[in-house]
């Protein structure tokens, strides 16, 4: 099992204990409150992913063959889901990030937040996370193999 799939499985198990949507959303809101704030210097236009409803800031670093993401949003539910995405994708090698299908979002019943109609920036955020991974992989192809 890849690192990403392991993380996904952890989250799926975590969500299994919730009986109803309200417990689930309370948990996401708490996650939203606890997510590490992005370094303020990255909270600027350059790192902004604009949604029609909520905004997302995303920053990525590349260290020892792994991509490290930090992010933030002005909406708490969005921020909570960002925390899940970071938990799954941050610290993983580029190729795994590029290949990730993020099926866990569907399994924990949050697919609606990734739909076009929500325009909350999450869909574009995932796209942007993968683009960063691709860019890091292209710029330092040797690092991965050594």
């Amino acid at each position: 099992m890849s690192g990403i799939k392991e993380k996904e499985q952890e989250i799926i198990e975590e969500f299994e204990i919730f009986d109803d949507w309200m417990d689930k959303y309370n948990y996401i809101i708490e996650l939203g409150k606890s997510v590490p704030e992005i370094n303020p210097e990255y909270k600027q236009e350059k790192y902004l992913i604009r949604g029609c409803q909520a905004q997302v800031w995303l920053h990525a670093d590349y260290k020892e063959g792994k991509v490290i993401y930090t992010a933030d949003s002005d909406a708490l539910i969005t921020k909570g889901i960002i925390a899940l995405l970071i938990k799954v994708l941050s610290g993983q090698p580029p190729q795994e990030i590029i290949d990730a299908d993020m099926a866990f979002i569907d399994q924990i019943g949050l697919r609606e937040h990734l739909s076009q109609t929500r325009s909350n920036g999450l869909l574009n955020m995932i796209k942007q996370m993968k683009l960063y991974a691709l860019a890091f992989q292209k710029s330092m192809p040797q690092n991965n193999n050594q």
Partner: protein, 406 residues
């Protein structure tokens, strides 16, 4: 006729839906209204027994469909009290109506250095077409500001009108704030200045009577789907004197008189502006929707919707930390607010879980949000089928939202 809620609601099949295991509360009517059975049946009837291409073909069905289509034009002319049928142009909706004028009026009348005046509270569809037109003709776009209540500053408007102002494009009712603008006064002042006026009536048509003769507007635009009719159809009213002089917007079949490879001459009004096969079924559906509005009656609609508006404002005011965005003296059917510093997206998500459909975000009016320096609002907007009980459900749901985010 008074609005009898139970009878009226039964005419809208979708209102019986259950969403997230709760009865649907539909408060997103400014985005689109639901459709009564009469409209749905009309569409079905057309495709079952009238469907044919119009204004051509000598056969029975073509004649039937053509007559129905032109009768709809006549009924819609009456609905807005226009002088002549050929001043009623069918479009895809308000957006296309505005684009048509922004393209064709500007091509004929907008010259370098001229000015177009719009307001700070416009929907993007009454901003962007004018930005493009001004760019194409080296003209300038000027903005009528609004005050803190979300009302246009008429003193500023007077100052902005000049000999350079070729056209004023302004909304009748604001989609994000519910403000009813003094369009009659705006038009009078513009005409004293020899300036034409386009009114965006998308949010007015379902709520207040439209009389283009009394307003004396040069153009008036509205959409079928925001007034209980089908999606994908709308109207542009234009005064004959302008439409006659304006070049075609789109070209193809229907809009021509004679075509040769050397030269094409254009058809007369309204066909000059209706290139291609028209959306006959939806025009007939829109006609039916208008008939529905007239049967319920504008007075009854206004009384009911104003009741709802007042009730909503009163009930929502009971909540702590609620901030209303848009508090104009003259307003209709829209309440925009922020609640407890909770992001509108968060509020909207939880309300959706509780079966309540609201709109959150910037409502395609980003300059309005910039004015109030907010990321967006939660907007509830009413139609004639909404009830006070639904507002009670909303108020309870908001208490739940506060509990979750508090």
């Amino acid at each position: 006729m008074a609005v009898k809620e139970d009878i009226l609601r039964k005419q809208f099949p979708i209102l019986g839906l259950t969403v997230n295991k709760r009865p649907l509360v539909y408060f997103d009517n400014a985005a689109t209204t639901q459709k009564p059975v009469a409209v749905i049946d009309r569409l079905r009837h057309y495709y079952e027994s009238e469907n044919s291409n119009i204004h051509r073909g000598a056969h029975y069905l073509s004649q039937l469909a053509t007559e129905a289509y032109e009768q709809a034009r006549e009924n819609i002319r009456k609905f807005i009290n226009a002088g002549q049928n050929h001043e009623v142009i069918f479009t895809r909706g308000t957006t296309e109506s505005i684009n048509l004028v922004a393209y064709a009026f500007s091509k004929k009348f907008l010259n370098p250095g001229d000015e177009v005046l719009i307001s700070e509270m416009e929907h993007h569809s009454n901003i962007v077409p004018w930005q493009i037109a001004c760019e194409n003709h080296q003209a300038h776009l000027k903005i009528i500001p609004m005050n803190e209540k979300g009302e246009l500053r008429m003193d500023q408007y007077r100052k902005l009108l000049s000999e350079k102002t070729k056209l004023v494009a302004v909304t009748h009712v604001s989609n994000s704030l519910g403000t009813i603008n003094p369009v009659k006064e705006i038009i009078q002042l513009a005409h004293q200045n020899n300036t034409a006026v386009l009114v965006d009536g998308a949010q007015a048509a379902p709520h207040i009577p439209i009389d283009v003769k009394a307003l004396d507007c040069d153009f008036y635009c509205f959409s079928g789907h925001k007034m209980y009719g089908p999606m994908g159809v709308g109207v542009l009213f234009g005064k004959e004197k302008w439409l006659e002089q304006m070049p075609p917007y789109q070209s193809g079949g229907e809009m021509i008189k004679e075509v040769s490879f050397k030269k094409t001459t254009y058809n007369e009004l309204p066909f000059k502006f209706e290139a291609g096969t028209p959306n006959v079924a939806d025009v007939l559906g829109m006609e039916k929707a208008i008939q529905f509005i007239l049967e319920v009656g504008h007075k009854a609609i206004a009384r009911h919707e104003n009741d709802l508006l007042q009730y909503a404002i009163n009930r929502l005011s009971e909540l702590e930390n609620i901030r209303f965005i848009g508090t104009a003296e003259q307003r209709t059917s829209v309440v925009s607010f922020l609640f407890n510093d909770i992001h509108p997206y968060d509020t909207g998500t939880i309300l959706d879980k509780l079966g309540i459909a609201v709109r959150t975000g910037h409502h395609c009016a980003q300059p309005v949000m910039d004015h109030f320096q907010i990321p967006g609002t939660v907007r509830i907007s009413f139609a004639l089928y909404n009830t006070k009980e639904e507002i009670d459900v909303l108020v309870k749901a908001l208490a739940k939202v506060r509990e979750m985010f508090g």
